[in-house]
């Protein structure tokens, strides 16, 4: 064994060929690819069940479009705030970063509040009115599974972004960490764009 090989045995390469900025970024992309497969299977499963069903209700007549259109707008705006917060920290503007990251977190919380209101409204008023139930009807089951799985991701994103904000404020995290958190948040936005179309509008 050469001297160089002996020194480097068991040592990870310093730089990933795909994302030279950081290994964490590659890790996040791989996680998101796996997560997208979970969401993809749920959405495809939803589509197959709906297509094969004879009595699937028209979603727009049962689910509120106005509130979810606002929720879609909110996530798109929060994605813009996220890129602006990344842009700010890359330029070393910490106060601006804190402002935009705070808005991202607030946007996520408002989204979750809207979803809690929507679920409560559906469970207590709308579904009983249409003689539908969570446990018996595939329409209701698939709706709650899909939006619930996404809501969990938003909850995770709010916690993740809060941790990133705290760590940057203490000087422990830099721009590359914000970029990785941003990837996750944009993914949550991207998935909601698909859910909004396939579950609420189609």
């Amino acid at each position: 064994m050469s001297e160089v090989a002996a020194v480097h045995v068991g040592v990870e390469p310093q730089e990933t060929p795909l994302t030279p900025e950081s290994w964490g970024k590659l890790g996040m992309w791989l996680f998101l690819a796996g997560d997208a497969m979970s969401f993809g299977c749920l959405i495809v499963g939803y589509g197959i069940l709906r297509h094969a069903s004879s009595n699937w209700p028209v979603p727009s007549q049962i689910l509120g479009i106005n509130l979810t259109a606002f929720m879609t707008f909110l996530l798109i705006v929060s994605s813009v705030w996220m890129v602006l917060s990344l842009s700010a920290i890359q330029k070393g503007d910490l106060p601006k970063f804190k402002k935009f990251m705070g808005l991202v977190i607030l946007g996520g919380l408002v989204f979750l509040g809207c979803q809690a209101y929507e679920w409560t409204h559906l469970i207590t008023e709308v579904l009983p009115h249409h003689n539908l139930s969570f446990s018996k009807d595939l329409f209701a089951t698939t709706f709650f599974v899909l939006t619930g799985f996404h809501g969990m991701h938003v909850t995770g994103g709010v916690i993740y972004n809060s941790c990133v904000l705290a760590a940057v404020s203490r000087g422990r995290y830099q721009a590359k960490h914000v970029e990785i958190a941003g990837l996750y948040w944009h993914f949550v936005d991207l998935v909601w764009i698909l859910i909004f179309t396939f579950v609420y509008l189609v």
Binding site: L18, T19, P20, W29, M37, I48, S79, L190, L194, L201
Partner: protein, 92 residues
């Protein structure tokens, strides 16, 4: 080229495009055309919006091509899943 060296994309431009496409989606569902045409339009609009988010907000446009292939792999799985399940679909 890496994500840290490219010029900053026009984020507000992407935002306005996303907003316009969302309004178009809302308009499409009330258009008096065949249901399949509405479905096709909604799928095109949704995929366009998802692509805008991935390419510009997630900077995929400025990353290595292999990373793009990793990001696309779930769509291949979804297509495979649809093709596998097609024989089981018997619309009533």
């Amino acid at each position: 080229m890496t994500a840290t060296t490219h010029d900053e994309p026009n984020y507000m431009g992407v935002f306005w495009w996303l907003l316009v496409l969302t309004v178009l989606e809302l308009g499409v569902i009330y258009t008096p055309v065949h249901r399949l045409a509405i479905l096709a339009l909604l799928v095109v609009l949704a995929i366009s919006k998802a692509a805008l988010v991935a390419l510009y907000f997630m900077h995929l446009k400025f990353e290595r091509r292999t990373l793009g292939l990793i990001a696309l792999s779930p769509f291949v799985l979804c297509l495979f899943l649809i093709l596998m399940l097609l024989p089981d679909i018997r619309p009533h």
